[in-house]
Symmetry: C2
Subunit: 203 residues, 2 copies
Amino acid sequence: MKKDNSTEEKIKQAAKEVFISKGFAGCSTREIAKASGMNVALVNYYFRSKSQLFALIFNAAMEDFTNTMVEVFGRDLSLPEKMRILIDKEYDFLSKHPELPAFIINETNRESGISFTNAGFFEKISQTGIFEQCIEAQQKGEMREIDIRNMTLLILSNCHYPFMSKNMMKSMLKIDSNQWKEAIELHKTHVTELLVNYLFPKK
Amino acid sequence: MKKDNSTEEKIKQAAKEVFISKGFAGCSTREIAKASGMNVALVNYYFRSKSQLFALIFNAAMEDFTNTMVEVFGRDLSLPEKMRILIDKEYDFLSKHPELPAFIINETNRESGISFTNAGFFEKISQTGIFEQCIEAQQKGEMREIDIRNMTLLILSNCHYPFMSKNMMKSMLKIDSNQWKEAIELHKTHVTELLVNYLFPKK
DNA sequence: AACTATTTTAAACAGTTGTTTAAATTATTT
DNA sequence: AAATAATTTAAACAACTGTTTAAAATAGTT
């Protein structure tokens, strides 16, 4: 049937890069076609429309985006251990994919944007048993009384924002890329202590 | 001379709203013209080009964006007091302008985007004397040994991200706008304690 | 009043946008 | 080898993009 399935894959790969770095509104189908070495008609031949191709990319990105959390929460570890490992893994992952948080948040905010099926994030997190583990830890007095939503927001804020704000911080603080890299590496240790100390205070 | 200076002002006001909510790439000059009740030619008559109008809006937004920090740091207060007031004021400000952080960060990340003169942010912050106050507090042992850049990043992460991520969080956590509002109000208190406790630990 | 400068308008411009068409090419099946 | 199906191409489409033009309308000056 298919002469060369790598055409479809090439377009998808190029679309991923272009969409994530420029956003839906910031690029054209012709740009994606050129980046993949194909022509415009092929983009719509394989994916029907710019919007449908985008939805594909977005949902995959969302999957990657929430993967680490689901994976780490699902392990058999204490909460402070999970927290430390999660932050470490998030910083690792985002060092390789620094554009992802801004992409997700942007496109989620775009009017008439993605339908955002949520891809069952809440359910996946729920199935890890993290909620029960938190409630239990709170009853034992090992964890601060904090809504799980606020805990999530604290984690995401301190993991995502440093990468999203790279260019802004470089300009505001007048630092170059090397200094930023140093600052980020140091920042990870601050964030870890900050969150662990706050969420699991020693009496 | 000017028949009606409100024309220029109307366009500027409409441009501000449209640019901030849709971004430079996400809107057209015709959309701005229509939003202001004027026509396309007038936009370029008063502002020469979409880019120049955008630069005007962006720089003003950047000014608003960094205002609170400069203002609070310039007061005659202790560092923990400044921190508490700053967070309170940031949450107040961002409740009224929730789209601003995402706008600034997005446009700062856009390729061939704004020249971003920085508007002397670093100098303005420096002139408040906050750096010296931090060093002094650290020498007295009242403040944790932390680079001022990392301190800044901690503050911005925990103030900006909650507002930028509103739609994402609503979807991920399956909550409505009222629940989000409650969560944000609560979050402010968490962030305040989190940061004050970390930066100014009691021995 | 006539004249000048400023503001507003409608129309046009060249280029780009997402998408579709129909023909050409290639692969697969018979 | 012939017939069928899948893939690729170049070209076209209508709508929209930022910007400019020249004429019309208005305001200000003499």
